[in-house]
Symmetry: C2
Subunit: 342 residues, 2 copies
């Protein structure tokens, strides 16, 4: 039997999740502001600009729902450590955005000027460094070495994933396994850590912390694979970045891998030339790739693959924790990441 709430579409259900944790996220927001306490004015200026540019605080939300499911804090009460660690994962995420823009020569982020367009590579690199360091310093103040360890490992894996992606840039010979490994490192590791840290705050046993991390990992993969598909489907207006940005950057993602697996030799040769170009691909190249993806159902199949990871994430979670509102919130979020349109 389906409850009335479950008859709503996934995006509406996700909005209800954000509403349920509104107080928790407000406390995260307060921590995000309070911990930018540098005497150096430019640090706060750049950091506030990026933090205020429309992020949904998805990682702090996952952390809060996982922590509450794990019993870290009774309903109706709040937890300073949970709010602080929510800010930690958001700082880490924000630092990666600042550095990614330098890596990709990005000009636009979430529909606004990227920080590097305003303060140069220097400002983006250095304020990103500040946010990484501030985040890890804040995590130390919670006093649990295991939590610090989980967070430093996530930062390490994220940078490895980015370097891996860089090292295969423009190479149409990328395997699907390597693509998924990049996604796991660069995106899923922080999602996994956000969920795991929630479990650690609740003091659940190692097996259930591992289940939460595995939920986060699978959901993070689903999130990034869906993101990579949406990169070929949306435009600046709704998604905050240009259509086909990954193609221009020479990033080979799952929709393109699917198209490459299915196309003929002449089509493949043209794709190889397009992704190997150092300059931006002309519009006709993008149109060619979009037509190819359409012909070979590459976008739909990539989204279907993302849905598979999302489903496994939900199965892991429901296998390890009893039903309840917080578990349902995490289930809804895992569903949302593959059903959003932006």
């Amino acid at each position: 039997m389906t409850s009335p709430a479950q008859q709503l579409d996934p995006r509406t259900r996700a909005e209800e999740v954000w509403a349920r944790y509104r107080t928790d996220l407000e406390q995260v927001e307060a921590q995000l502001s309070a911990n930018l306490r540098s005497d150096v004015a430019l640090v706060g200026e750049v950091a506030r600009y990026v933090l205020g540019s429309g992020g949904k605080r998805f990682r702090p939300l996952v952390l809060a729902a996982a922590a509450r499911m794990a019993g870290a804090v009774p309903d109706g009460e709040s937890s300073p450590a949970m709010a602080l660690l929510g800010a930690v994962v958001e700082y880490i995420h924000t630092a990666t955005l600042l550095h990614d823009d330098v890596v990709d020569d990005g000009e636009i982020r979430r529909g606004q000027d990227a920080a590097r367009a305003l303060w140069g590579n220097a400002g983006s690199v250095l304020v990103g460094d500040y946010l990484y360091a501030r985040a890890l310093a804040m995590s130390v103040s919670v006093g649990d070495l295991d939590i610090v360890q989980a967070l430093t490992q996530a930062v390490e894996e994220m940078s490895e994933g980015e370097v891996f992606q860089l090292s295969v840039c423009g190479d149409a010979g990328l395997t699907e396994d390597s693509y998924l490994r990049i996604v796991e490192l660069k995106t899923a590791s922080l999602m996994a850590t956000a969920a795991r840290v929630g479990g650690m705050l609740g003091g659940v046993d190692a097996a259930r912390c591992d289940a939460l991390a595995e939920y986060g990992r699978l959901m993070g993969i689903a999130f990034q694979v869906a993101d990579d598909a949406l990169d070929y489907r949306s435009d600046t207006e709704v998604f905050g970045k240009a259509l086909g940005g990954d193609l221009k950057d020479g990033k080979i993602t799952l929709p393109l891998l699917y198209a490459l697996q299915r196309c003929d030799a002449a089509e493949r040769a043209r794709v190889e030339r397009i992704v190997a170009r150092d300059d931006d691909a002309p519009e006709e190249d993008l149109a060619f790739v979009l037509a190819l993806m359409d012909r070979y159902h590459a976008l739909d199949d990539a989204l279907e693959r993302a849905r598979g990871f999302s489903l496994r994430a939900r199965e892991i979670l429901t296998g390890a924790f009893p039903d309840g509102p917080h578990r349902q919130a995490l289930v809804n979020l895992a569903e949302y990441v593959v059903e959003r349109d932006r």
Copy 2:
């Protein structure tokens, strides 16, 4: 009465310090290699290139001498934690070099191609991130939250110092106090932390840990002020970077501040124009500034100021710890930083 060793010149005495801790530094070297264990080949490639490009391992040396002075390990024995934490401070230092090159658009580092000239800004930013994260993850493995806290604070302060420097770039109105604050944050904080962590490994009381940190802070300031003076005195061949590099980057350092304090209005106006330029200053501008520094004894006085910090560093140290070979090593290093020619 001066011992025979003290009659040698400071550089020879410093060489003897490096020789005394050779075994410790070899163990640091082993940790530097062993901890680059990423599956991503490019991570190791970039990191090994930068780590292998002629660094003197000055920070691990300070840490080892401080740790031995503090009784962390008996003479003739080794300490895995000391070697590991030596590698941690060297990784952190290396990460800052990688990011500094991006910030400064640097092409040459220690007389070789900068990593960004070989792997682009992307490789330098991301492998720098990896080294920061790896360093902090390694420090967590030692199991002492206070040590992790000291290290994260140092990384935070270093990035703040760099942002502060960026925010006053090209501004000839920089005060001497602001200049010294930048130096303290960007350079001295890691030296202070290396010395403090040595004391923590030895388990000395808080007052002596603070004295070690103060020694490191003052020596770090002396080190950077001397470095800033040498930037106007040496050339690529002996110093590994171009003469007047700071001037080209619009960085206002102590020799220039001294010249500005003493020159006439016309000279000042020309210096203001030179440092505010976005493009590289032509050779005649550099020649003009060098002549100005010569006329107003700016380099000698900046070096004299550096010697003052070095002297206070030695006084703090000898006031807090009894005489002995390790204290003498730290004294010699503080002397060396202001007497080196490269």
